[in-house]
Amino acid sequence: MSNKQPTANSQWPIANGYLDMELLRFTTAGSVDDGKSTLIGRLLYDSKSIFEDQLDQVKQSSNRMGLDHTDLALLTDGLKDEREQGITIDVAYRYFATPRRKFIIADTPGHIQYTRNMVTGASTANAAIILIDARNGVLEQTCRHSIIASLLQIPHIIVCINKMDLVEYNRDVYEKIKIDYEVFASKLDVHDVQFIPISALKGDNVVERSKNTPWYKGSTLLYTLENLHISSDHNHIDCRFPVQTVIRPKNDKFHDYRGYAGRVAGGIFKPGDEVVVLPSGFTSRIKSIDTYDGPIEEAFAPMSVTITLTDDIDISRGDMIVRTNNQPEVMQDIEVMMCWLNSMGPRPRTKYILRHTTTDMKAMIKEIRYKLDINTLHRIEDDKNIKMNDICRISLRSTKPILADSYKKNRNTGSLILVDEGTNETVAAGMII
């Protein structure tokens, strides 16, 4: 064969269609019993994302475990211990695509002892699927998942009322659960909630519209996932550009080039914009927004670009380029909703490394204000003994100010983690209030 590589051409209808896809990240939380694995299995299977050799492996494992059916949960449980014990220990990421969208599922176990995994999965999600067993209605677990989705500000919630086949596709059952959920959700900070009656096992309203629910006029689950309006999930108003690194090629062609590399965390940047660099406060203008493929006219979240300025100012990693008339808050006493992730609770007066956008510094937990009961939203003020999976409101004091927004306003500039200086482990995740 020739050495010359065949070049791309436009004569490939399938591939062209796929190139226009958007990316949607969603999380599913639930226990084995409510049909989560069956639902994921169905989505993967019906979108032809399960390969024959994967299915063969799952069949063999099912046989070896003495099961009389092929357990699709084995597709998502990847580690030896998980397969042996039949539990999901960690967040598992699954991928499938339709011609419209590519999907990333963060599949997390729903038990209370795995709150930290649910929080992890929720942190990057555009949408959450909350499963309710039609026979059981709204349970503690439903509330827990919803509260986490609300705390983590997942923009879209899809409540799937599952196992409709076991309640004879009864509309009243569906309507009652819907009302119960709406009553509960009114206490939460969620905006886009949709309800779908499904049977993951039988396939009703998952990919195909069901003939068993003629009273349901809404969309199937897959259609809903394909059509959620996600382009406004990013903040396109408040311009934030945390500098990751400075690019200085120092070669002949780009001798004096000085570019600030980073990922847009919010807003829309354009060449000519008047900007201020924080924390120094120097002002300048954007000279160019560069990429390997050439300069571009605007940059918005979540693009990775390199910005050059008209003035030579001293900028380094951890600095933030913002618009003069719209600046983040400068805070050193930081109010945070925190999820504790480590098996060892916080030690009194310990200093942690606080990581926020592209910067880090030391910080101390000054006060634990209250613990949150994540089944009921009640504040527990008399028990301040923090353990793994606890969610609590705390006050942090950092050694130098951070440039932040509230988490509600911007997930990128409103989130932080704490790292234990001794073990280097990530021990807590925080959402700035």
Partner: protein, 301 residues
């Protein structure tokens, strides 16, 4: 109103570039694990984009099993020259000669497992504190549990049940003396995404990925290429077939598939219609149900 959204490929690209820049900022001595396969080629392409107009600030780090496709070696050398980066080679043959590793024997012998010894030795010798790899979560069930920033202890081992939680896009690359990290910028990419990206960017890849005629034998349901390293016995029948490779590894364990896909566009179509995973043709993954997890725990790629 204008819609500010990215296509899935642009969003994945932005995420990977962000990860590569974090590696550069958080570590002292990174290297790109380069096998000559499509995934490490895409990682290298993304690194070029991440630091443009500067040169890639990492060396390419190749674990040379000695059982290579000659086409891959040529590709590697050409790319190193084009990019002007340093090449660091860890040689499995050298590990065997020095008695650090013992070669497997028998008909299905491969150097896949002992590569880990060479890899860990070379990491120590070169004092790399992070190796950037092209592994993806969709490849294999143990890999589905990988973090972007994956911590390795002082023995190079991965402890899948004791991983650091990774939230939002905040990465924690802190380590103690003697430990290191593996970073996987393509974590969220699928095989399809990689091919679509290679197509849309027209990234150069080794000719082995395109359908071509080659002498092969049938073994364990796949077409293994004839090379000086493969042990033949009387049952093996050598035939010429038009095949291509979906993954590239050691020449002794990388099976080809029958294919007529001789352009990138045709490969994308073929991948879209495929009913087997790409690693289905890799002998190294077939040894047991948890062979990838076992090897990864020991420090494998």
């Amino acid at each position: 109103m204008k819609s500010y959204s990215l296509t899935h490929l642009r969003e994945l690209e932005a995420e990977s570039i962000y990860v590569l820049r974090e590696v550069f900022s958080q570590f002292q001595n990174p290297a790109i694990l380069f096998s000559g396969g499509k995934d490490s080629i895409v990682v290298t392409h993304l690194a070029r984009k991440a630091f443009f107009p500067a040169r890639i600030p990492f060396p390419l780090f190749h674990i040379d099993s000695g059982h290579n496709f000659p086409e891959t070696m040529k590709f590697r050398n050409d790319l190193v020259e084009e990019l002007g980066v340093r090449l660091v080679v860890g040689s499995v043959q050298k590990s065997i000669d020095e008695g650090r590793a013992v070669e497997e024997k028998g008909r299905n012998a491969s150097r896949n497992v002992i590569q880990t010894i060479t890899l860990l030795d070379a990491i120590e010798e070169n004092q790399f504190d992070v190796c950037i790899g092209g592994a993806r979560r969709d490849e294999e069930k143990a890999r589905a549990k990988e973090r972007f920033f994956s911590h390795r202890d002082e023995f190079g081992q991965w402890d899948p049940k004791n991983q650091r939680p990774e939230l939002w896009n905040i990465f924690n690359g802190k380590y103690q003396q003697g430990e290191h990290f593996r970073v996987f910028p393509l974590s969220n990419w699928t095989e399809m995404d990689v091919w679509q990206y290679i197509l849309s960017e027209n990234i150069k890849i080794p000719p082995l990925y395109f359908a071509h005629e080659r002498e092969v034998i049938r073994r364990n349901g796949t077409w293994l290429p004839i090379s000086e390293f493969i042990q033949l016995d009387e049952k093996d029948q050598i035939i010429r077939k038009k095949i291509r490779f979906r993954t590239l590894g050691d020449i002794t364990i990388t099976g080809g598939i029958e294919s007529n896909a001789d352009t990138l566009a045709k490969i994308v179509e073929e991948v879209a219609a495929a009913r087997q995973t790409e690693r289905g043709n890799r002998e190294d993954d077939k040894r047991s149900e948890t062979s990838m997890e076992d090897r990864k725990r020991e420090g494998y790629f």
